[in-house]
Subunit: 160 residues, 2 copies
DNA sequence: ATTTCTGCAAACGATTTGCACAGGG
DNA sequence: CCCTGTGCAAATCGTTTGCAGAAAT
């Protein structure tokens, strides 16, 4: 299910090579950390995870590596309403998924929809552009919470 | 076309009154500034504009007023890919519009689409939620730029 | 009179950067 | 070797906050 770490490595290091950039133990650790989870994470959280794989990784390296991962398309940067941006490692497996954020419990549900995808492409072309990244964010309130006064949903649920 | 400033004032001060908050000259200036344009603006830009209307307005007051405007629904906070968030005063006139951002020239095109709107509502209900805010951001590249090597579009164009 | 608002300046916190050394090709 | 990458600590920059006085109700 998870894309093999090797394919992620190949993909990024292919990208790095094109730019004349080098392979290092620290970048390996950051990549391994980023794809060791399906959860969204902040830069700081990635720093902690990467440090567990290789304690020579510094915060600066994490902050310098993150943009490379985003530009190469391995990771997607998202603003889901929290105080910092988060990074989503699930775009390799689900390149067109979108997000619903519950305003009550802050839970995030990922969903895919082929129809929206299609409409986005049409709209973009009609305006004279070629689509690159499309993102939908829906902020909503939990019906169950409104009815029962508490939200029973479990954190790990994903609509994918 | 622009909603009368009075209606904006009424709307916000209605909201403020509900919360036991007060009407002040500084808030008036910030509101007037925010709705003196159809362009997106940053907090700092709003500060400059508000100061032109009343030079007693401080940066702190702008930063304290901005969340009130967002929570009351008058202004929408957007992450369009720049380094800071921007605020969009056009949601009063076009409550469901979305954004396309050109990766080449950074121009922003606003568009509305009833079909996407509908799909977002369906998806949200299907997942057991009631939609509150829905946003679509499309990042794209200008076809004309690709063909001609330069982007001839003018900054003020809006797809609404 | 009571409470909210304000400007100021200091504090904050996430991110970025300059530097000198380490290490990949 | 040469040049990129690194950790460290300092710098940056947008935003937030504590405070004492000003102003709204």
């Amino acid at each position: 299910m998870t894309p093999s770490r090797d394919s992620v490595h190949d993909s990024l290091y292919g990208y790095l090579a094109e730019k004349g950039l080098r392979r290092t133990a620290q970048r390996d650790a950051v990549i391994a950390a980023a794809f060791s989870t399906k959860e969204h994470f902040s830069a700081e959280e990635l720093y902690v995870m990467a440090r567990r794989m290789n304690d020579s990784v510094s915060r600066a390296t994490v902050y310098r590596t993150l943009p490379l991962l985003v530009e190469s398309g391995l990771l997607r940067e998202l603003d889901l309403g929290g105080k910092t941006k988060v990074y989503d490692p699930n775009f390799l497996e689900h390149p067109t998924h979108n997000h619903l954020v519950c305003l009550d419990c802050k839970k995030i549900i990922e969903f895919e929809d082929q129809n929206i995808e299609l409409l986005e492409n049409c709209i973009t072309r009609r305006l004279g552009f070629s689509p690159k990244n499309k993102m939908v964010k829906i902020e909503a309130r939990c019906d169950e919470l409104k009815l029962r006064g508490s939200c029973s949903r479990r954190p790990a649920e994903s609509g994918i």
